[in-house]
């Protein structure tokens, strides 16, 4: 690590003792993480090459090679879920990024009531997705939903609309609810990023006669790039794994039009008891997430680690 540590540790006895201490500090965590996350991960990889149709420990698990993968690749439900997930991820992350930058900039402005804004914005993010989703499912109800009543009373719509009744509309509604919840996270990243941009930059730009919009394009956005890269990766991964909001609002319907990959994997594994195929689907999700993150990190040049400092 740094020179200072090495200096202190020059005496061999000290070094040996340090090694032992480090070992004792690390072992419990390594055991727990490997046991609870590493081991299931390996099991899932193995299961994806086996036919597993029962959760009972003694059940036979014959090796079937790439059969599970071949099965999902030829399954139209899988491709439907891929399309839905990509659509969800793209519009969800895109909207959150655009709105989140705006909201973050607003939260950064010195003004009265800023604390209220910051507190209010945390709530949708902090509360369980299940609560949010159930709540919006009620608001969007076609017969007695308050959102419909609101739209009709304000004259924005003539009649009650079944938000979750048809495929595209249901998908867009689910996306909006998730945007409503997660834009806060993007905004807080942006806020944190804005706080470290030197004020002098803006002052000299103002002296040079740059307008507010120009300052935003030429100073704020470029300097926010590393933060945006990180939050984009985080949100893309989360959106790609979407499960809760869809499960509660639509259960993947109507007619599988909102079934995401995670929901498809869940149904395959737990409703159809096809654990091998379910494992293969969830590995596909991980591969997608990994390649998307690598792509972003390359493209945007942000770094994800504490090492960046």
């Amino acid at each position: 690590m740094t020179e200072a540590t090495v200096e202190v540790a020059t005496k061999p006895r000290r070094a040996r003792r340090e090694g032992r201490t480090a070992f004792f500090l690390l072992v419990p965590a390594v055991v727990v993480v490997l046991g609870v996350v590493g081991w299931p991960l390996v099991t899932t990889v193995l299961n994806s090459f086996r036919r597993v149709e029962s959760a009972l420990p003694k059940a036979p698990k014959p090796f079937v090679g790439l059969h599970n993968y071949a099965y999902i690749l030829s399954d139209s439900d899988f491709w439907n879920a891929v399309r839905n997930t990509l659509y969800f991820t793209f519009f969800n992350t895109g909207l959150e990024l655009i709105l989140g930058v705006g909201l973050g900039v607003l939260m950064f402005q010195p003004m009265r009531g800023r604390w209220l804004l910051r507190v209010a914005v945390i709530l949708p993010w902090a509360l369980p997705t299940v609560v949010n989703a159930a709540m919006w499912r009620y608001y969007m109800n076609a017969d007695y939903g308050p959102l419909n009543a609101f739209l009709v009373q304000t004259g924005l719509r003539q009649d009650y609309y079944s938000f979750l009744g048809s495929g595209t509309s249901a998908m867009n509604s689910v996306i909006l609810v998730d945007v409503w919840k997660n834009t806060s996270l993007v905004a807080f990243f942006v806020l944190a990023g804005l706080q470290v941009i030197p004020k002098e930059l803006y002052e000299s730009a103002e002296i040079d006669g740059a307008g507010a919009l120009r300052r935003f394009w030429s100073i704020t956005l470029p300097l926010l790039r590393p933060v945006l890269a990180v939050v984009l990766v985080l949100r893309t991964i989360e959106a790609f794994k979407v499960f809760d909001v869809i499960y509660v609002m639509t259960r993947g319907g109507p007619a599988s039009s909102t079934t995401s990959l995670a929901l498809y994997a869940y149904k395959t594994a737990f409703s159809d008891q096809l654990f091998g195929i379910g494992s293969a689907i969830s590995l596909v999700i991980v591969l997608f997430c990994l390649s998307l993150s690598l792509f972003y990190i390359r493209a945007l040049g942000g770094s994800m680690g504490p090492e960046q400092s």
């Binding site: 159930a134 807080f188 470290v196």
Partner: protein
């Protein structure tokens, strides 16, 4: 942006964030027939029947207790196990590339979707008789949270200047006492931020709890709320009440630790 526009944007956003929750509260106080009749902005003719039903026939009390037990035990154990490991990664010269390998794997865990873990969890917990059991959930959450604690605490601890500690080491303190006496108090805000994130993520988790539990004996708040959404009919009144009650622990918690919130949400992204 003009002052007026800013103020307007602020008001609109605050309303967008808070009004849905106000409505939720209003619905939770309304009679069943009133709910189906149409929305109201104010709880006219309020009733506590939804709350009574929620804690009576819908077992909200056990959902709350299950969540509180599972969240607090798993987060505390994760902090106790993860923080020393983070300290070792931040301070010691580990052989080979062990340090960065450890960190990268801790980060990788964040990428792994819960859906990937639930099948093996389900099979393993079934083997040990821990399905539909709080202990089963605690074990799983502890593992997931520990990797998260390592990741976050490592970057907090790395920020604390080594000189402070070295002064103590030169004075003859052992690593252990330096860690306890000097580092831990300085890492306080970091610990708070880490705990906040872990508590919220664990309390809000749905997929793992949904697959590992099946009765109110061990179902957590989110799973309990989802059981109020039937295949045909949704119990809106009790569900709204459940939403209100389910939000209370997080609101109390968020108010107490509000100072550390922004830090916790954005840790690692900004220095």
């Amino acid at each position: 942006m003009g002052r007026f526009l800013k103020g307007l944007a602020l008001v609109v956003i605050v309303i967008c964030c808070l009004l849905p929750f106000w409505w939720l509260f209003v619905v939770s106080l309304r009679h069943r027939v009133d709910i189906f009749a149409g929305p109201a902005a104010w709880p006219t003719n309020p009733t506590t029947e939804n709350y009574q039903a929620l804690f009576g026939q819908y077992h909200m009390g056990s959902f709350l207790i299950n969540s509180l037990v599972v969240v607090s035990v798993s987060v505390i154990i994760s902090l106790l196990i993860g923080t020393p490991a983070a300290y070792a990664l931040a301070r010691f010269d580990l052989p080979g590339r062990l340090g960065s390998v450890g960190l990268m794997s801790a980060l990788f865990v964040r990428m792994v979707p819960a859906i990937l873990l639930v099948v093996p969890f389900y099979i393993a917990l079934g083997r040990f008789g821990l399905l539909n059991n709080r202990l089963g959930l605690i074990i799983i959450y502890t593992g997931i949270n520990t990797s998260f604690v390592i990741w976050m605490m490592q970057s907090f601890l790395a920020e604390i200047p080594k000189e402070i500690e070295e002064a103590a080491l030169v004075d003859g303190d052992s690593r252990w006492s330096a860690m306890w006496r000097i580092i831990l108090p300085l890492a306080g805000p970091g610990l708070a931020a880490t705990a906040i994130f872990a508590v919220i993520a664990t309390y809000n988790d749905f997929l793992i709890a949904l697959t590992m539990t099946s009765t109110p004996k061990s179902q957590t708040v989110p799973v309990g709320i989802s059981t109020l959404i039937g295949k045909i009919q949704v119990e809106w009144g009790p569900m709204a009440a459940a939403g209100v009650i389910g939000a209370v622990p997080i609101i109390i918690f968020a108010t107490i630790v509000q100072r550390h919130f922004v830090r916790g949400m954005t840790m690692g992204a900004v220095k």
